[in-house]
């Protein structure tokens, strides 16, 4: 099953995806990589958040306008609405967020570029709907985009093995998402004066230990249930949803159907 040109990512788009991933990673991992001084440790997150936001915006623009036509945008918007509706009952507070299972399944069917865009647009829309556009949003969009991207890059598998593969990936991705958001959260909230904070000038291992302690104390309680819920949802409804997504993709020729498969249109 080959994907049509409508879903391929243009070269500038790929560069932008890499750039935004790079600057986003920088914005998250800087406490370990960089020996910063105290003066910049308050402006650094701010600067990087703004830069990330701008580049996320550029990336979103490029991915959607370059090659996606009306079909891709319509499916993207509607799937983003589904993801948003899944987030509304539990907007990150309880941490359950069943949106990821849909993201993984859609990324699997439509490809890494689409998955990346879907992650970003879903988080953006849900922020707009719940009225919660905060400084965390660019990183949430990026992290969700990574989840969708990864799902599109998974190896080929069929039937039950595919469902198992996707469920395992979803569980890992949920924990990774939680860790990524903690990476953002950590220097901002823990500041620099607690013993589990980032310490400017200290070595990476020490900061890593601080971060792990922070992660464990604050978010494992959310990450593990989220991973379990999403993996379970894939196991329970993954198969029929994959079928439905593939049917829609074939009907709109976003995926080329094999010629003997008749997908009838109404008269």
């Amino acid at each position: 099953m080959t994907r049509s040109a409508a879903l391929a990512v243009s070269p500038p788009g790929r560069i932008l995806m890499a750039a935004v991933s790079g600057v986003g990673a920088l914005g998250l991992l800087w406490p370990f990589l960089v020996a910063a001084h105290g003066a910049t440790s308050s402006t650094a997150p701010l600067v990087l958040t703004m830069l990330t936001a701008v580049v996320v915006g550029l990336c979103g623009v490029e991915l959607t306008r370059g090659t996606m036509d009306a079909r891709g945008i319509a499916v993207l918007g509607i799937l983003a609405a589904c993801g948003t509706a899944l987030r509304i009952p539990s907007p990150g507070v309880a941490g359950i967020e069943p949106v990821f299972f849909l993201l993984v399944l859609a990324g699997r069917v439509f490809g890494p570029g689409f998955g990346f865009s879907l992650g970003g647009i879903t988080l953006l829309t849900s922020a707009l709907v719940t009225g919660g556009v905060g400084p965390w949003l660019p990183f949430q969009m990026l992290a969700a985009g990574w989840v969708g991207l990864g799902a599109g890059l998974l190896p080929r598998a069929e039937g039950g093995r595919e469902v198992g593969l996707l469920a395992g990936y979803a569980a890992l991705a949920c924990v990774a998402y939680g860790t990524v958001m903690n990476l953002w959260f950590w220097p901002t909230v823990a500041g620099s004066s607690t013993s589990i904070s980032y310490v400017p000038g200290a070595g990476p291992l020490e900061n890593l230990a601080h971060f792990v302690a922070f992660d464990l104390t604050t978010s494992m309680g959310f990450d593990l249930p989220r991973a379990m819920v999403n993996a379970m949802l894939i196991v329970v409804v993954g198969r029929p949803i994959l079928v439905a997504l593939r049917r829609a993709a074939k009907r709109t020729r976003l995926i080329a159907a094999p010629p003997d498969l008749e997908v009838a249109e109404a008269s």
């Binding site: 049917r247 159907a257 009838a264 109404a266 008269s267």
Partner: protein, 534 residues
């Protein structure tokens, strides 16, 4: 204006259209008719390029519109020339408010802002949408949404307008309005309009020419009278004309009345066969039923009872409470006051499993009832859930007719087949009361006749059938009794003939032609004529 040059098309293996050679002239109103599955929608989408660019398939031949090749361009390029209104206006909205929706097409085409303002006002005037101009499109009624969809397309000032079943969601009054606005545009502005429609009785009076698809891939084009004379699908008017051998065949009620003098005289002393005596007991009733929500009284102190072995039609404008009545009787809605009861019990308080053996409802969208990936699975699951012997549902489905392949995906079935499948699932537990909500949407005449046959069989088996519909022809064919609702209240209740023949809005074509005599269907007239001739 539009020309199809030896065009053939298929999605997969089977050719849907073969060697079509059609030319649509400038400023013409063409009506495309054909049985379900014959390719009407496909043909329409070929004009603006949605087929093959958005839906795939093999297109052989050449489609040219105003000199531009469709195969060589995409729908996006042709958007300034052709306006397309699809079957589901609700799904086609992009913007939030009515104004923005109307302006959307023009924004895409890069029209100057001052011109856009003017054209938006014109479109609002044309479709009578001033009062709702700032409202959200999601809050409008079905008829208003249809008008907004058409206005949005008209605002871009296309030369060609393609409409796929524009009146399916509308009641007769709203449908009349939309069609006459379109005709006015054709006459005043010289717009070329192509419409696909099942309910020919609404659209034939306005057509310049008719294109008939035969379902095998072929097509014939010509004057409405000429094409209808030999068409397997025809509105009751045409059937009457064929029966009475009128030549030329009338396509409007007015033309028919002119030719009907002799027939009227012949039938003057005949009376339609009386309905067989109904002595069934009441199996369902609503007493002083009031249902209110969101501050609106959908039903206001309605009292009705339904006897076994009868078919009752509930008619009324969209929003008059028809669906609410059925919902209350099926136990979906709780009465705010009063009661609904089936066989002595209140459906709302019954256990779901017991309820479906007493009352079954097929909603407006029958597809909502279907879950499985294959028709066969659907039947098997239905058997399991309702604790029936395996094969019961499949058997019921077979008896209903319609030749449904058990391996097809329910979403791939035609409208009529989906309705039949939903009916089969609902009827398998043999409920006493069967409720149908607007069953004829999207059905062609053949499927409608089959549905009427299915309903009458149910009746003969002793069920009480209640149908909510504004399809006057079907009501005339199948119902014994008609109840008319308006604003949640009953304003008429009686035998079909009495209620329907004297109200112009609900009168079937045969009654309008032969008025003041009260004939409902062509079959009645045929039976009477047969009785006259020795």
């Amino acid at each position: 204006m539009i020309s199809f040059d030896r065009v053939s098309f298929r999605y997969a293996e089977a050719w849907i259209l073969r060697d079509l050679d059609i030319v649509v002239a400038d400023g013409e109103l063409l009506v495309v008719v054909g049985p379900t599955g014959s390719g009407k929608s496909t043909l329409l989408k070929m004009v603006n390029g949605l087929v093959p660019h958005f839906s795939g398939g093999d297109l052989a031949g050449e489609v040219t519109v105003a000199g531009r090749s469709v195969v060589g361009s995409s729908p996006v390029d042709l958007a300034d020339l052709i306006g397309y209104v699809g079957q589901d206006p609700r799904s086609s909205f992009v913007a939030e408010t009515v104004e923005e929706e109307i302006a959307y097409g023009m924004e895409n085409l890069g029209v100057a802002p001052a011109v856009m303002r003017r054209r938006v006002e014109d479109a609002l005037d044309l479709m009578s949408l001033h009062e709702v101009r700032t409202r959200s499109v999601r809050t409008l009624s079905g008829g208003q949404q249809q008008r907004v969809a058409i206005a949005a397309v008209l605002a871009s000032a296309p030369s060609i307008l393609i409409l796929d079943e524009p009146t399916s969601a509308l009641d007769p009054g709203a449908a009349e309005e939309v069609l006459s606005s379109l005709t006015r545009l054709v006459h005043d502005v010289g717009l070329t309009v192509v419409i696909a429609e099942h309910r020919l009785e609404r659209v034939l009076p306005f057509a310049d020419r008719v294109l008939l698809l035969d379902g095998e891939g072929g097509a014939t084009v010509g004057e409405p009278g000429r094409i209808m004379a030999s068409s397997p699908l025809a509105p009751p008017l045409i059937d009457l004309g064929r029966l009475a051998e009128w030549d030329p065949l009338p396509v409007t009620v007015r033309q028919a009345r002119r030719s009907a003098g002799a027939l009227s005289a012949l039938l003057a002393d005949e009376r339609p066969a009386p309905a067989p005596l109904q002595d069934g007991r009441n199996v369902a009733s609503v007493t002083n039923l009031t249902v209110a929500y969101d501050g609106l009284r959908a039903l206001d102190r309605v009292s009705l009872s339904f006897a076994a072995g009868t078919v009752t039609a509930i008619m009324g404008r969209n929003g008059s409470g028809k669906s609410t009545l059925l919902g209350a009787m099926a136990g979906l809605l709780a009465p705010t006051a009063g009661a609904a009861e089936v066989s002595g019990q209140a459906p709302r308080s019954m256990d779901a499993k017991d309820r479906i053996c007493l009352v079954g409802l097929v909603p407006q969208d029958p597809g909502a009832l279907l879950y499985a990936q294959e028709v066969g699975d659907e039947c098997r699951v239905a058997d399991l859930e309702h604790h029936l012997d395996p094969g019961t549902t499949a058997g019921v489905l077979g008896n209903l007719g319609g030749e449904i392949d058990p391996h097809r995906h329910p979403k791939d079935l035609s409208e009529g087949q989906r309705l039949t499948l939903a009916l089969g699932v609902v009827l398998a537990p043999r409920p006493l009361v069967v409720l149908l909500d607007e069953p004829t949407r999207g059905l062609d005449y053949g499927a409608k006749r089959l549905l009427c046959h299915q309903i009458r069989t149910l009746c003969d088996q002793g069920a009480a059938v209640v149908v909510a519909s504004h399809d006057v022809e079907m009501v005339a064919m199948v119902s014994d009794r008609v109840v008319v609702l308006a604003g949640g209240e009953v304003i008429a209740d009686g035998e079909t003939r009495d209620v329907v023949c004297h109200t112009p809005a609900f009168a079937p074509q045969v009654a309008k032609v032969l008025s003041p005599q009260t004939w409902l269907t062509v079959d009645e007239v045929a039976a009477a004529l047969g009785a006259i001739e020795p």
